[in-house]
């Protein structure tokens, strides 16, 4: 069974590679390359996979998951300029793809052995564009 918890954070980023020129970055990332950055209200859906515990009837304690998402993701990303304030995005381009993979790496060790397994991290930059990472090659 899959259960999903949603968290939201607002942050700014600039999608650009420091080694490339402004023109190259604009061609590659469009308006997202503006060096001064721009922001989104990101919507994060985190999905766990597991069987409901026979006693509690729950796959995972959603209160606990809420606290983990707050501590590991929202407190780190919310109201920050990712390129300047949130490693590894001082070195890694903060595309939604890289952000989703980074959030997976933050959550997986915390959730390991909890009875439920991290299944998917879905990050929506706007309501019309989102990415999903399920770990490794899945």
């Amino acid at each position: 069974m899959l259960i999903t918890r949603r968290a939201e954070f607002s942050a700014s980023h600039a999608c650009r590679q420091p080694a490339r020129t402004d023109e190259e970055n604009a061609a590659l990332y469009g308006a997202e390359a503006n060096p001064r950055g721009h922001g989104h209200n990101f919507v994060l859906d985190v999905t766990l996979e597991g069987e409901p515990d026979p006693l509690s009837g729950m796959v995972y304690d959603l209160k606990k998951l809420k606290e983990i998402l707050q501590r590991e993701v929202v407190d780190v990303f919310d109201h920050r300029f990712l390129n300047l304030e949130v490693p590894p995005f001082d070195r890694v381009v903060p595309t939604p793809e890289n952000m989703a993979a980074d959030i997976w790496r933050r959550l997986e060790p915390v959730l390991l052995g909890a009875g439920a397994r991290l299944h998917a991290v879905r990050l929506a930059e706007t309501e019309d564009l989102w990415v999903e990472y399920r770990g490794g090659a899945r």
Binding site: V92, V93, E97, A100, W130, V131, Y133
Partner: protein
């Protein structure tokens, strides 16, 4: 492997009517969607793709290329059209949401290599909401 999905919108009209069936059977089968004058919807189209993360760019696909593909090969042919008379190549003879989804998959698949040459992302799924309560999804590859 990273998945990416993009949402688009278009408005179009259609009438569900199968020439293979008599009038009464059409009315019974399709109900108010069989109205001879047609009717329209604000369709929502979601296109999902997946592929490996490009380490240099940090992206799975060029979203601008996806937008160009969907706009020029699909949306321009459907937007503000009468699907029965003006978009049969995509929507099929009976423009149900199922046929529309299958036609959009065909269209995107045939143009995909031109817009995403090389070992880039592959088309994973097409999802159409005819209304917020009426949703069809075709999974292209698992």
């Amino acid at each position: 492997m990273i998945r990416l999905a993009r949402r688009y919108r278009f408005s179009a009209s259609h009438r569900l009517h199968s020439p293979a069936l008599p009038e009464a059977a059409n009315a019974e089968l399709y109900g108010k969607c069989n109205n001879p004058c047609g009717h329209g919807h604000n369709y929502v189209l979601e296109v999902g793709l997946r592929g490996p993360l490009d380490e240099a760019t940090g992206r799975v696909a060029d979203v601008a290329a996806l937008d160009r593909l969907v706009e020029t090969k699909v949306l321009e042919k459907l937007r503000y059209r009468d699907l029965n008379r003006e978009a049969r190549q995509i929507a099929g003879e009976v423009p149900t949401t199922e046929n529309l989804a299958a036609g959009i998959v065909r269209e995107l698949s045939s143009w995909w290599p031109e817009f995403f040459p090389g070992p880039g992302p592959s088309l994973e799924r097409v999802r159409i909401c005819e209304t917020p309560r009426n949703v069809i999804e075709e999974v292209v590859s698992r």
